[in-house]
């Protein structure tokens, strides 16, 4: 199905949020995930369903500054 990932429409296989992470080869421990502006707890990534047109936001840790 087509979902929006970080502002960009992408075709991803599967039916739950974790499938999108797997398709992008992203370790769930490396990101905070928002689905339609709501944060999804890491434990719920595998049980949260995705619908076509959903907006996913993968927020990577960004720790630099010095």
């Amino acid at each position: 199905m087509v979902v929006e990932i970080n502002g960009k429409a992408e075709e991803i296989p599967g039916s739950v949020v974790l499938d999108a992470l797997n398709a992008k080869q992203i370790d769930p421990q490396m990101v905070a995930v928002e689905l339609n502006d709501t944060l999804i707890e890491r434990d719920h990534l595998g049980s949260t369903p995705l619908q076509p047109g959903d907006r996913l936001e993968f927020l990577f840790y960004m720790g630099g500054g010095r």
Binding site: N6, D37, F60, G64, G65
Partner: protein, 278 residues
Amino acid sequence: MNFTDEQITRYSRHILLPEVGGKGQKKIAQARILIVGAGGLGSPAALYLAAAGVGTLGLIDNDVVDLSNLQRQVIHHTPDVGRPKVVSAKEKIQALNPDVNVVLHEERFMAANALNLVRDYSVVIDGVDNFSAKFLINDACYFAEKPLVHGGILRFDGRVSTIIPKQSACYRCVFNGPPPPGLVASCQEAGVLGVLAGVIGTIQATDALKLILGIGRPLTDRMLDFDARNMRFREIPVKRNPRCPLCGAHPTVTELIDHEQATCELRPPVAAAHGNEP
């Protein structure tokens, strides 16, 4: 307090702004801003806040200037290599604006001293380069109820977000805790386009000044992500998380902790999800 003629001239472009005026400039002159880290983000933030006439600027850093810092840490100059960063920064601030009282804390920001450091200031700017310190700053500002302007930079990307404790989403509302150590590369390995520090540090200074002046809408409950490759800003809405380990309904973080970690990034080697393709 009254401004001298020289000060009125110096701050005239502020005073001309109806939202600032003489009254606002006085607020700036009475403000106390703490900058944690006198490096990439801290450099532009300190310079602009000094230029703006912030009354007291606190600087925390226990490092010395390294040649590899000069590509982005614009407050330090070539002859400063080997000198303490806080000393080098103080000289530039005072050369730029002798009105500013610079308070030096030549120490590491740790659980043991964090709360006492933060308590003395009205706004805190995060200019550190590791998760351990970023979470510690977030937690200390929460416990001391001090507004925090968070920033991060990496490679070609940067992020800013403002946190008003108990009112807006905190760093832990989004990122529960520091990433697991095994997955991360070091800052030195990752690299950063130097100018990112200027873009992000200057936005941090902007929001800090707005907080002092009480004008506009701060960057709360959102993360502003900057992608320099595509020259794109994106705003990601975030919310207070009832399950936040710090500010949620049942907090598990109830005291300050030193997480043992000296890393600054956590991303897949290929920036697959970030839309960085041209």
